[in-house]
Symmetry: C2
Subunit: 406 residues, 2 copies
């Protein structure tokens, strides 16, 4: 019997990986267009950032050694202005806004509401420490720090973090290009009149949604893959073969949905490719894979739930491998147990490192004094309720790296 | 002192909700365009589906009472064909493919590989029960079942489920329209030359990314909101005011980023709106909200992490309320403890109901015999490894409903 006579364990997908051709082309891309791309060279900070102490509060830039004291206001530096020629002499101050680099001679900021104004002078009545209300040079990032490693998928959070410290380009692998062939005489393809479609479904027709779901999953969870084209074909095998061969010539991988059963239709079998045919998975047993000249061809069920199963178990690991992904993205809210107490009266959001343990996810807060997003160790941000949390408490975490076991 | 003299607890955002105008306009939309929309009327199944027994396997449609037995092959019904005029008499069978409605007179399918072929006849050597390898009428959904309740956000999974049973339209609220005003003389706005941008950052300029991050968060986690426009203004207050007032006239809500400090810039303060100014949250204390004629105006920090915090704590609950959301979407992989044993040698994907308990997420498998996605109780699908899992084991779950505590 030809059909699924010996199902393969899902783990055999590992045998396919050495046979597929990994993406080798590398492009230089602007960071603001890099979300979803796979990093091809470690992204190292080319300089300390900030290069000078930076105001973390609106107020008066002073030399901390001269506090408490009385200062003459000799200038203003708004965020975005560059006034390195403004040099404060003893007894002088300049008004600065959040994000501005402090003028030469200043190393702290006295909040606007903490001074007494006296004409051109401000009175500071208590001691302010060095770097009070200021981010010290290099506090966002130190020159040479690896902000992203080769194989990491750039997330929207990384984009913010890199731009924050003046990194505007990076090297990325080109995306994996995929074509999807949805097969089936029964398929109705929107846009169509919804009322007519509803009637036809009651007469046995099927509105195409399986290939759409597969495409959605890829676009959402595998941004390093580009679904370049999706065609819907009849069950005439020559038509399916032509579509598959065209896509094989143009793209890096082909996904076929439908016609995966034991019937006469069975396109994957008729294509005659050598490969793994049928897996020990339920639903989705007819899921199949063959590799043609380094390019995978996947056969998925026409049923949405089965096709989704095949996508997650078989398609994703293969395409991830081809894309050179070491660390996948994953945007979403999760629960995690905090590994240490976090104190504080206020509602907080804190950067956390996420780890997968026996009982699920664990979040370890990272001390990040500065306002930057740049925190190479962080995988997400956790919401801490007012009053803080105790070690072991469960918190909501917005992750940006994948938390799924591979 | 005018600035943040009395910070508000985050919980006071609840006081704002009764003041904002909820979306009332309802539209009829095609289901294949409905992902992300908020359901405005319960979606009830208008009929049983399938309307007739449906093949769950390729093979021969028979009357189960006549098995074991010998059947004459009198026809073929492929999925998508409608042959209700094909009536099987005793001793007759028809070849059917997965998804085809069984002809009148048949109630079970004998798999192709389980028959012996003898010319025009097939020999079935053992008993097959009623509905063996067939989905009984109404097994996907019963007429009148609520598939989606008012206030649910339609997910890509719901789209598949509804189309699967022939539901092609639903009533949805129109999306909440938002305008974002990013303020700051220091802002550089891509597209620009990346090398030039990098140099300017070292001289104090900032590449706009805060408003982009807020927009990304909204697009990703609040698909029922449409970011209609995003403008970047200088810090000239009149320019900011003009942008805010224009957006207030055109859209349902306005978000301002930047200029939220105590400095002279402080656009939110200068606008003069009554509202909640400053929250007990860290970072993000200057987060503010006012309601103008039922439309919220949000003031967020110019720092990405602070603006994100304000978005999650203040913006999201208000816009969700305006959008009439009862159950938000949330697409992502999570860990959950299963609440009962799941047996099976094969790798499985199973529909689960998700609940948030003390220790995190709990997943209760739902018995779903059929292949449909339609399962009103399910919140996601869980991956079960080969060999099954024991109660309390942690499994990976692809959720489609939000799992975050509100």
């Amino acid at each position: 019997m030809r059909y699924l006579s010996a199902l393969n364990p899902v783990s055999r997908v590992a045998e396919v990986l050495p046979k597929v051709k990994k993406i080798e082309e590398v492009e230089k891309v602007a960071v603001w267009e890099a979300a979803g791309r796979v990093v091809a060279r470690d992204v190292l900070a080319p300089h300390d950032y900030p290069p000078h102490p930076r105001a973390a509060y609106d107020g008066y830039a002073v030399n901390s050694d001269a506090t408490p004291g009385r200062f003459k206001v000799v200038g203003t530096v708004l965020v975005g202005q560059y006034k390195r020629d403004l040099v404060l002499r003893p007894g002088e101050t300049a008004y600065v806004t959040v994000g501005a680099f402090l003028p030469e001679g200043a190393d702290a900021v006295v909040p606007e509401e903490a001074v007494k104004k006296e004409g051109d002078y401000v009175l500071v009545e208590r001691k302010f420490e060095k770097y009070a209300n200021a981010d010290p040079p290099g506090s966002y990032v130190r020159k040479g720090t690896a902000l992203l490693r080769t194989g990491y998928v750039v997330t929207p959070f990384d984009v913010v973090g890199l731009l924050d410290v003046g990194i505007t380009t990076l090297y990325a692998y080109r995306k994996v290009k995929v074509g999807i062939v949805a097969t089936g005489d029964e398929l109705l393809v929107p846009p169509i009149d919804p009322e007519v479609a509803a009637e036809l479904v009651m007469r046995g027709r099927v509105i195409e949604s399986t290939a759409s779901l597969v495409a959605w999953y890829i676009q959402t969870f595998m941004p390093y893959v580009e679904v370049r084209e999706k065609v819907v074909t009849s069950d005439v095998h020559e038509e399916v073969r032509a579509a598959v061969e065209k896509f094989l010539a143009q793209y890096d991988a082909v996904i076929i949905t439908g016609g995966a059963g034991p019937s006469e239709i069975d396109h994957f079998y008729k294509l005659g490719y050598e490969g793994l045919r049928g897996f020990r998975m339920k639903p989705g047993r007819p899921t199949s894979i063959a590799v043609i000249d380094g390019k995978p061809v996947f056969g998925l069920s026409g049923y949405p739930i089965s096709a989704l199963h095949g996508t997650v178990r078989i398609v994703e690991p293969v395409l991830r491998h081809m894309a050179n992904v070491v660390k996948a993205p994953g945007y979403g809210w999760h629960y995690a147990a905090v590994t240490q107490d976090v104190t504080g009266d206020m509602a907080q959001i804190v950067r956390v490192k996420l780890e997968i343990g026996e009982g699920g996810l664990y979040a370890t807060p990272i001390k990040a004094k500065h306002h930057s997003f740049t925190e190479p160790e962080a995988d997400g941000v956790a919401l801490i309720p007012p009053g803080g949390v105790k070690k072991g408490d469960i918190v909501a975490v917005l992750a940006y790296r994948d938390v799924k076991k591979s």
